[in-house]
C-alpha cells in the first residue's frame, strides 16, 4: 500500500483537470475526495524493498501503551522495556547493522483505534502494543487488513486468536496470554496447598471483561484439578475505593483459595483493606497479576498476608541475579529508568515484543540477504525462537508466544523498597497453554477430572 505522495498528487490533479473539463469545476471539487477510491491502494508491500542493498534509513516503529492514569502502572513498564530493547539494538548498530529504530510511543487512551490508524497513516513499519485486551480485540482485525506487523505486548485476551482473528498473518502476541497465567495459578494453588485441601474457592476480580474472563477460566481449571466449589465471585469496579463488601463476603465464606486478577493500584487497596479485616486468617489468595503492584504496595499492608502471585513470563529474580548475568544487567538497567521501581512482567512484555520482531528481521536478513517484506517477516515470526534475559521464548504457529511462567509468594523486601516473590515455581508453556489449534476452553474440557 505504499504510495508516494507525488504519485498521489499528480494523479489527483490530472483527474481533477479532466473532471473540470467534462463537468465544470464544482463537480471536480465535489468529487475530488474520491481520489482515495480511485487510486490503486494495493501497490507495493509496505515497508518492503525490492531487494539489493539495505538502506540506512531509520525504522519507524510505533508503541501503543498506557502512559498515564491507573493503567499506566502496567503501560509505563512496557514502555520502558521497549525503550531499553530499542536502545540496545541501536547501540549495536541497528537492524542489519544499519537501520536504527525510532520508537514513537502513544497513549492507549480513550480512542486507541485512532492512534493506531495514525501509526498506519504515518507508515510505521511495525507496531507494538497494546496493553488492554479490549484494545487488542479492536485493532487486531485492522492489523490484518493493513498488512503491517504488530507484535502485541499484552492484550492477552484468550479469544483473540480463537475468534477475533482466527487465522492471523500479521498479528502476533509475545506475552503469555490469559489462559496461561490463570492455569499457572490454578496449578500453583494445588502445588502449594494440595488438591485435597481445596474444597471452596472464591474470586475477587476487576469488574470488566478481563476480570470476568480470568475468573471463568480459573473456575474451569480449578474444578478439573480439585473438587472445589465456587462460593463467592465479586467484581469490584476498576479503581474502586472501597472493597469492604467483597472482603466481608470472603470472610463470611472462609474459602480455601481466593483467586484474584486485580492489578496495579487496586491490588494495594484490596490488600490493605483485606489485612485490616483480617481476611488472611480465613483464606489464601492466588492472583495472576498482583505482582504488578510490586513498587506500589506498602510493606505494612503485606505483613502477615498469605498471597501468591504469578508474574507471567518474567520474574526478575529468576534465575537468581547472582548467577545470571543477563538478568543482572537487565535489572540494573531497568531500575535506572524513570518510574521503574522493579521491572515487572509488563516490562518484559515491551522488551520481548521488540526483541521478537527485531530478531526475526535479523534472521530474515540472514536468509534473504536483503531487507525483508512484511510478509517475509511474518513468515519468519511464525515458530520463531529467541532469547531474552527472561529465557527462551517461542512464537508458536498460532502466533501466540509460549514461554515459561513464574509464580511465588509475594512478600515485602525492605532492602528493595518493593515487593518480591519468594520460593518461585516455574511452569512450562506445555503445562499452561493448549497446543496450537485447540481452543483454551476445549483444552480445559479435555482434562481428566
Amino acid at each position: 500500500m505504499k504510495r508516494t505522495t507525488t504519485d498521489h498528487d499528480s494523479e489527483g490533479i490530472g483527474r481533477r483537470q479532466l473532471l473540470s473539463a467534462v463537468g465544470g469545476s464544482a463537480v471536480a471539487a465535489a468529487l475530488a475526495g474520491c481520489s482515495t477510491l480511485l487510486s490503486d491502494g494495493e501497490a507495493a508491500d509496505q515497508g518492503g524493498q525490492s531487494g539489493g542493498e539495505i538502506s540506512d534509513e531509520p525504522i519507524q516503529a510505533g508503541l501503543l501503551t498506557f502512559t498515564r492514569g491507573a493503567p499506566g502502572v502496567l503501560g509505563i513498564q512496557a514502555q520502558r522495556g521497549a525503550e531499553l530493547a530499542v536502545q540496545r539494538i541501536n547501540d549495536a548498530g541497528g537492524i542489519g547493522g544499519q537501520r536504527e529504530i525510532e520508537l514513537d510511543v502513544v497513549n492507549e487512551g480513550s480512542n486507541p483505534l485512532d492512534s493506531y490508524n495514525q501509526f498506519i497513516e504515518e507508515e510505521k513499519e511495525v507496531t507494538f502494543g497494546p496493553i488492554s485486551s479490549g484494545t487488542h480485540s479492536q485493532i487486531a482485525p485492522e492489523v490484518e487488513k493493513n498488512e503491517v506487523i504488530n507484535v502485541s505486548t499484552d492484550g492477552t485476551v484468550t479469544t483473540l486468536y480463537e475468534e477475533t482473528v482466527p487465522d492471523p498473518t500479521y498479528s502476533f502476541r509475545f506475552q503469555n496470554y490469559d489462559i496461561m497465567e490463570v492455569v499457572t495459578m490454578a496449578r500453583e494453588a494445588v502445588e502449594r496447598i494440595g488438591a485435597d485441601n481445596i474444597s471452596t474457592v472464591a474470586g475477587v476480580n476487576p469488574g470488566y471483561s478481563f476480570g470476568e474472563d480470568e475468573m471463568r477460566v480459573f473456575t474451569q481449571a480449578i474444578q478439573k484439578l480439585t473438587d472445589a466449589e465456587i462460593v463467592y465471585e465479586g467484581f469490584p469496579e476498576l479503581g474502586a475505593s472501597d472493597m469492604a463488601n467483597h472482603i466481608t463476603s470472603i470472610n463470611n465464606e472462609e474459602p480455601d483459595v481466593t483467586f484474584s486478577s486485580l492489578w496495579g493500584g487496586d491490588v494495594t487497596t484490596f490488600v490493605r483493606q483485606a489485612n485490616a479485616n483480617d481476611m488472611f486468617e480465613n483464606t489464601t489468595v492466588f492472583g495472576t497479576t498482583l505482582y504488578s503492584a510490586a513498587g506500589d504496595v506498602p510493606g505494612d499492608a503485606l505483613a502477615g498476608t498469605d498471597i501468591y502471585s504469578g508474574s507471567r513470563n518474567y520474574y526478575w529474580g529468576l534465575p537468581a541475579l547472582g548467577n545470571w548475568q543477563p538478568g543482572r544487567e537487565l535489572f540494573d538497567a531497568a531500575t535506572q529508568q524513570e518510574s521503574v521501581t522493579v521491572p515487572t512482567a509488563h516490562y518484559m512484555s515491551g522488551y520481548g515484543a521488540v526483541t521478537a520482531w527485531a530478531t526475526a528481521v535479523e534472521k530474515a536478513i540472514d536468509l534473504l540477504g536483503t531487507y525483508p517484506s512484511q510478509e517475509q517477516i511474518a513468515q519468519v515470526l511464525e515458530g520463531h525462537g529467541f532469547f531474552t534475559p527472561a529465557g527462551y521464548h517461542n512464537i508458536a504457529e498460532d502466533h501466540q508466544g509460549a514461554s515459561n511462567s513464574f509464580a511465588g509468594q509475594m512478600v515485602y523486601d525492605d532492602d528493595l523498597g518493593a515487593a518480591r516473590l519468594e520460593d518461585v515455581n516455574t511452569y512450562a508453556a506445555t503445562e499452561t497453554a493448549p497446543p496450537p489449534g485447540v481452543t483454551g476452553s476445549d483444552w480445559l474440557d479435555s482434562w481428566s477430572a
Partner: protein
C-alpha cells in the same frame, strides 16, 4: 427546479420547501462542497485525520437531534448517549448474532432500536422538566451503560466487533472494500445521511409542530390551555431526537467496526453531545454539527499537543459561556457578537486594550467580592 420568491424584500429561492437567500445559498453550496472534499484535505495533512472529523460529524449529528429538544421545548437531556449507544449496540448485535452484513439493514436496525428506546425513556422521563428531567435522562443513560458493561453477550467492557460474514466487515452495495476505501465510502454515506437529516430537521422547524413545541417550551400551562396535547408533542420530539442519535450511533458502529460502552454510552458522552450543541450554537440548525467537529477535534489535537488537554477544553467552554453564549455559528452570524466586535475593532483598534482592561477589572472585582464573602462566612459581619 428552484423557484424564485421574495422574502422581506430580498430575493430568495425556494426548492423542496427550503427557502434561502442568495447569500445563504452560497454558504450552503460551499458547506456541502467542503464536506465532500474533506477526505482529500485530510489526506494532504498529517495533523488532520478523516476518522476524527468523521467522528465529530457523527456526534454532531446526534447533537442536531438533541437540539430539537433543547432549542424548542427547553428540555435539557443529559442522557443522549443512550440513543447513540443503542444505535451502535443494535448494529453490533445484528452483525454478530444475526449475521446481517448490509450497511443499510444494519442502520435500519439501529433506527428501530433507538426509536423503541427513545419511546420508552421518553414516557418515563418526560413526566418531569428542568433539572429533574436532566438527571432522569442521565440515570437512564447510566443504566444502559451498566447493562452493556454487565452483559457478556454484549461484550462487557471489551465491547463488540461489527465484523459480520465471511468478509469480516459490513458490506456497502454488497461489496467488501479495502480499509481506506471503506473509510472514505462510509464517510460519504455519513455526509449524505447528514444532509438528509438536516433537511428533515429544517422542514420540522418550518412546520406548525415547531411552533407548538416553542409554545410548550415557553409556558407549558398556557400551551395546555390553548389545547395543545403537550405530553404527546414533547414525546414525539423526544423520539425524533432519539432517532437522530440512533442513526449517528449506527453509523459510528459501521464506520469503526467496534463498539465499547465507554465510547458510546458513558454519561460523559451525553455531556459531550450536549456541549457540542451549545458550542456550535443551539439556536441554529447546523451549529451542533460544527460544535461536534470542533469539540472532537479539540479533544484529539489537544491530546497530541499537551497532557493538559482537559484544561484546554475546559477553558474553551468557559470562553464560550462568558464570551460567546450563542455558540460558534450563532456568534458568526450577521449581528452576532463576532461581527459586532470585529466592526468595533476595525473602526477603533485601541478598543482591544479597553476590552482587556474591563475583563481584568471585572475579574478583580469578582475575586474581591468572593474574598469578602468568605471573610463574612468565616468570621461573621463585623
Amino acid at each position: 427546479m428552484p423557484e424564485r420568491v421574495d422574502r422581506d424584500g430580498t430575493p430568495a429561492y425556494r426548492f423542496l420547501g427550503v427557502e434561502v437567500t442568495r447569500r445563504e445559498a452560497a454558504f450552503l453550496v460551499l458547506g456541502v462542497v467542503f464536506l465532500f472534499v474533506i477526505p482529500d484535505i485530510a489526506s494532504l495533512s498529517d495533523s488532520l485525520q478523516l476518522s476524527v472529523i468523521h467522528q465529530g460529524l457523527l456526534f454532531g449529528f446526534a447533537a442536531v437531534g438533541l437540539n430539537l429538544l433543547l432549542r424548542h421545548t427547553k428540555l435539557t437531556s443529559f442522557g443522549h448517549a443512550a440513543f447513540f449507544g443503542t444505535g451502535a449496540y443494535a448494529t453490533a448485535v445484528l452483525a454478530r448474532y444475526a449475521g446481517v452484513q448490509s450497511v443499510g439493514l444494519l442502520l435500519l436496525g439501529a433506527i428501530a432500536a433507538a426509536t423503541v428506546m427513545a419511546a420508552i425513556i421518553g414516557v418515563l422521563s418526560l413526566r418531569h422538566t428542568g433539572l429533574y428531567f436532566a438527571l432522569l435522562t442521565l440515570a437512564f443513560g447510566q443504566l444502559l451503560y451498566a447493562i452493556a458493561l454487565g452483559q457478556s453477550a454484549l461484550g462487557g467492557s471489551d465491547g463488540l466487533p461489527i465484523r459480520p460474514g465471511p468478509a469480516n466487515q459490513p458490506l456497502l452495495f454488497g461489496t467488501a472494500f479495502s480499509p481506506d476505501v471503506y473509510q472514505v465510502l462510509t464517510y460519504y454515506l455519513t455526509v449524505v445521511v447528514i444532509l438528509i437529516g438536516l433537511f428533515v430537521m429544517y422542514r420540522i422547524t418550518q412546520s406548525p409542530f415547531r411552533n407548538a413545541l416553542d409554545a410548550i417550551g415557553q409556558e407549558r400551562t398556557r400551551a395546555r390551555f390553548i389545547g395543545l396535547p403537550v405530553r404527546r408533542y414533547v414525546w414525539a420530539a423526544f423520539v425524533i431526537s432519539g432517532i437522530y442519535g440512533g442513526v449517528a450511533g449506527g453509523l459510528y458502529a459501521v464506520v469503526r467496526q467496534y463498539v465499547r460502552p465507554e465510547g458510546t454510552l458513558f454519561f460523559l458522552r451525553s455531556g459531550d453531545i450536549l456541549f457540542m450543541t451549545i458550542l456550535g450554537g443551539f439556536r441554529t440548525l447546523v451549529g451542533p454539527l460544527i460544535g461536534g467537529v470542533v469539540l472532537i477535534f479539540l479533544q484529539d489535537v489537544g491530546q497530541d499537543i499537551t497532557q493538559y488537554y482537559e484544561f484546554l477544553t475546559g477553558v474553551v467552554l468557559l470562553i464560550l459561556v462568558y464570551g460567546f453564549p450563542r455558540g460558534i455559528v450563532g456568534s458568526l452570524r450577521s449581528g452576532g457578537i463576532v461581527n459586532t466586535r470585529l466592526g468595533e475593532l476595525r473602526r477603533e483598534p485601541s478598543v482591544l486594550s479597553a476590552w482587556g482592561r474591563s475583563a481584568a477589572q471585572s475579574l478583580e472585582r469578582k475575586v474581591t467580592e468572593a474574598m469578602t464573602s468568605l471573610r463574612i462566612i468565616l468570621f461573621g459581619v463585623d
